[in-house]
């Protein structure tokens, strides 16, 4: 027969299991971004509410400013001709991606994805 203490222990274990489950599975949803140059990792950025700064870089002869603020990241400015990169706006959801093609600079939000790719 189960005693009171057994039930407490069982509940404690269950509680720990639930806690561990969430600890391992949270924090992956759009909290981190990677910047790649020529397809190689340049920087990993953690996105938080309080961080607000600008990353300045040059790649393939093109100067670029990337804005990090409000849990999101995006191209702010680029020397390139088409400015398509800026039109992608600020990214915050896992799986989102923006690219400056002439500079070969790519920003991706990592983590547990809701969307696996985008057509268009």
């Amino acid at each position: 027969m189960l005693k009171k203490i057994d039930i407490i222990i069982i509940l404690a274990i269950l509680f720990t299991a639930v806690l561990l489950f969430f600890a391992f599975n949270s924090g992956g949803d759009g909290t981190e971004a990677v910047i790649e140059i020529d397809g190689k990792l340049y920087k990993t950025i953690s996105l938080s509410e309080k961080d607000e700064y600008i990353i300045v870089l040059a790649a393939n002869g093109i100067h670029i400013k990337i804005s990090v603020k409000n849990n999101s990241i995006g191209f702010l400015q680029s020397d390139c001709t088409d400015k398509t990169c800026i039109s992608f706006g600020m990214l915050s959801k896992a799986g989102q991606m923006a690219t400056c093609l002439p500079a070969r600079v790519n920003i991706r939000i990592t983590g547990k994805k809701k969307i696996d790719a985008v057509t268009g």
Partner: protein, 328 residues
């Protein structure tokens, strides 16, 4: 006490299984490269990471090879040779693309035409500074456009003087086909490849379909909805991709081979879903030129489905997408 011990052991085991399966999803790797003037992103899942890295490396090598075969810009390509010499014994892959494009040319009454290059050049859509050409120049250039200028002489393709072939309306889709072929060979569990706006989806995400977003043509930072796909290809053509304005008129890059001017079909974007990458890519251009009503028969002939976005912002999906489309 014995019951308690058994229960405890079972609980502990369940607990660890739960936590572990939660954080270890089978090794998913992502790689970004540049080819065909576009970003190539691969996300591959395999039991062994080495399979994924080898497959992704092979894929980018083969896409580069394909680009060097079909790009009208690259001096060693079959298409460059054909365009400059007027003849070329083309690779089997190029021949296949010619065959597909001829079928589509016939099925669309000439609205999908790979001999569009002279017009693309006249408009400057092959470079950075497109501009409105003279009417007279458009009319004289139109004479060089039409698949009747390209002929197959027992494996050697012949092209009339002044004409030019441009396979860019189907190249990125063809690249997705190449990629999926390699994933199969390398024992990959599942993969998603995007080459510019063309996407190939191989396998499933642990039994569930992958979710592919369709870009909002009016705001490229957003999506208009998602498609739940497995083992399918999707490509999009839109007027927002490349355009310029002259006065208050917008001129986009998809030229009507009949009129020589950008197509005016009432659409701003079409995404086509089917079993072949090259067909999805070519069909998206064809449907963009044809407009909604005329596209339906062509889509049906190829077993394809589509998402249309009209100039007034309405989204129309074909019947086969009802269960996989989710508006944002």
């Amino acid at each position: 006490m014995k019951t308690f011990k058994i229960i405890s052991v079972i609980l502990v085991i369940t607990m660890f299984t739960f936590t572990l399966t939660g954080c270890i999803s089978v090794n998913e790797l992502t790689q970004t490269d540049y080819s065909m003037g576009a970003v190539v992103t691969q996300t591959v899942t395999a039991i062994h990471e080495s399979n994924s890295t080898q497959a992704m490396q092979k894929v980018i090598e083969e896409i580069n090879k394909l680009d060097n075969l079909i790009s009208y810009r690259s001096k060693d390509s079959d298409i460059y040779k054909l365009n400059t010499q007027g003849f070329c014994e083309v690779d089997a892959l190029v021949r296949r693309m010619f065959v597909i494009s001829k079928g589509l040319w016939e099925n669309t009454d000439g609205m999908f035409d790979i001999t569009i290059l002279p017009l693309v050049r006249l408009w400057g859509f092959d470079g950075d500074k497109p501009a409105l050409p003279d009417k007279a120049d458009i009319e004289s250039t139109l004479k060089a456009v039409g698949l009747e200028h390209l002929n197959d002489d027992e494996g050697v393709f012949l092209l009339n003087d002044g004409s030019g072939v441009d396979l860019s309306a189907m190249g990125k889709g063809a690249a997705c086909d190449v990629a999926v072929g390699i994933y199969k060979k390398y024992g990959i569990k599942s993969a998603v490849i995007s080459v510019g706006g063309s996407v190939g989806v191989f396998g499933t995400k642990n039994g569930e379909p992958f979710l592919i977003g369709v870009r909002d043509p009016n705001d490229t930072s957003k999506i208009i909805g998602t498609l739940a796909l497995s083992n399918k290809f999707v490509s999009t053509s839109g007027s927002y991709e490349k355009f310029f304005t002259d006065g208050d008129k917008l001129y986009h890059h998809i030229i009507n081979p009949k009129t020589g001017y950008p197509t005016e079909s009432g659409l701003i974007s079409v995404s086509v879903i089917c079993e072949s990458g090259v067909a999805s890519d070519a069909l998206s251009s064809a449907c963009f030129a044809l407009g909604y009503a005329d596209s339906l028969a062509v889509l049906k002939a190829y077993g394809a489905e589509a998402v249309f976005v009209t100039a007034d912002g309405s989204i129309i999906i074909t019947d086969g997408l009802k269960s996989v489309w989710k508006a944002e």
